[in-house]
């Protein structure tokens, strides 16, 4: 099995601070891979470099063998590597449905002029996007609130909306930024199912997360970061028994890593 996404010796320095040091791992097609680590381990930095929101200091990220690091974010998105944000990043003054419809932009085959002139192609696209948006909303159980203004949604729905926006772009690999943060147990379990559902649609998932029980439940493989370095990689079982990982999390509650 060849890797879909490869992170190769990626390093990021902010002035004197090394946020990521020589990190390498690979994401296989149709797997759910989680990147975990204590606060300040450099998870978010890594995440931003993969989606080209940050430039790497050295090293590169490959998608299907082609470099995608240090490009513009929209180009990376067009290749099929799409990130989601934490809950506050949505189009606030649009309705839920409008949010998802606009996110279909990537699939559009028309250029700006075509949009403007309302070409036949643009019309066909638009109809298709509405249908597809409704399907995605249905899939994420958001159909009932599709007419609501996005700024009025509770947190759980916002997270789902973020995933809906990501799905609308028809990604090959979806990067989820802390999809379970700030959720209670029930919400987390629902979202875990959602993310598994996303994978079942054929989308590879790479997620960055704090919530250990959820990560252990959902992931095929886990990469652990600590102080900017990769300290372990393996299946949830392997990670749970890894001494370095246990050490890194010492001081936090034992059950937080499922022990």
């Amino acid at each position: 099995m060849s890797a879909l996404l490869e992170v190769k010796s990626v390093t990021k320095k902010f002035g004197g601070l090394t946020a990521n040091k020589d990190i390498s791992f690979a994401v296989q097609e149709k797997e759910i891979l989680s990147v975990i680590g204590p606060n300040g381990a450099g998870k978010s930095t890594l995440f931003k470099m993969i989606s080209s929101f940050l430039r790497t200091t050295s090293g590169e990220v490959l998608f299907k063998g082609e470099r995608i690091s240090n490009l513009a974010p929209h180009i990376v998105a067009r290749r099929g590597v799409v990130r989601t944000f934490q809950e506050t990043t949505i189009f606030k003054s649009m309705t839920v449905r409008e949010n998802v419809v606009i996110a279909h932009h990537l699939r559009s085959k028309t250029n700006l002029l075509g949009f403007y002139m309302g070409s036949r192609r643009a019309h066909i696209d638009e109809t298709e996007f509405r249908r597809s948006a409704d399907e995605i909303l249905e899939f994420l159980n958001l159909s009932e609130i599709s007419g609501e203004l996005a700024s009025t949604l509770p947190q759980g729905h916002l997270r789902a909306l973020g995933i809906a926006i990501g799905l609308a772009t028809d990604p090959k690999i979806l990067l989820l930024d802390e999809p379970f943060a700030g959720m209670n147990h029930d919400e987390t379990m629902r979202t875990v199912e959602l993310v598994s559902g996303v994978r079942d649609r054929g989308v590879t998932v790479l997620l960055v997360e704090h919530d250990m029980p959820a990560v252990m439940k959902i992931s095929d493989r886990i990469v652990v970061l600590n102080f900017g370095e990769k300290i372990a990689e393996g299946t949830p079982q392997q990670i749970q028994q890894n001494e370095q990982v246990i050490e890194a999390y010492l001081g936090s509650e034992d059950d937080s890593i499922g022990l």
């Binding site: 513009a72 944000f85 932009h105």
Partner: protein
Amino acid sequence: MLLTSRFLAVVIFFIGVFVLVPWLIEVSGRWDFYYTLTSVALLSIASAGVWLTFYIGRINIGQGAYALAGGYLSAVLVTQYEVSFWLTIPLAGLFCAVLSVLIGLPILRLKGVYFAMITLVLTEVAKLTALALPITNGAKGIVSIPLPGELSVFGMTIIPDFSTLENVKLAFYYLAVTLMVICFAGMYRLVNSRMGHLCRSLQQNEELASSIGVNITTLRITAYAISSFLGGVGGSIFVAISQSIYPTSFQVADSINFMLNVFVGGLGYVFGPMLGTVVIYFGWDLLFQTGKFQLLIYSSILILLMLTVPNGLLSLRLFKWNKEKK
């Protein structure tokens, strides 16, 4: 229902500006109103451009620079190269669009108040450039610009030579209003097309927009270029009306007024700039009676408007079809 009432509104508007207004002026003999209304139409074109930059989430206080640039281009081409005035209208627009791409590439990366500050400087820079360049004739400006000549296509006269007309003011009025109608029809189409939706996505969250594959740089620059195009077109016709242009023809105060027009009309409504321009222009003129208190009353009213109707006059939804839209 929605479609017919909107259609009706358009018809009433057309009858109003093309028939009713000239007739009222004829009857009342207030010929000076032609000049006022022509100005309003032209200013609203430039304001529509400013509105579009607001629509992508940028505060634009630099439209005066493009109006001045467009005006000078038209004046120079007409007086020194004997180009037809009619050709200089699109040329002025294109010149400003190209200029705005060059200026926009670096400055559109800025957001909020930083972008606003830079655009504020642009008008002053344009004025100083006009003062310094030999082709613009410095502070003396370019004067006695001939009236627009005849426009003919394949030997057919579409627009007669303005100097042969009995009523030049009426001709300019028709010209300005026609262009305003075209401009706002185009803007309406833009906002309701997918491109308008993308502009809104940009206004609300640029990061998210780029993560769904929107080329935010291109879109920002396209919108800014359209905006400046409208500024240039407005400026070029102003020059033809006043038959002169000076470095002070468009100043920082004008740039701020363009922005005010947009604010007062409503940032969320395509036709906001049109209403805003009418209200601001006539409001200021009406207050002339109050003498030395003019500025005080004017500013107080503006502050009150900002406080009570922050989304602009159109948010009051006085019109029926606006309610149905909701």
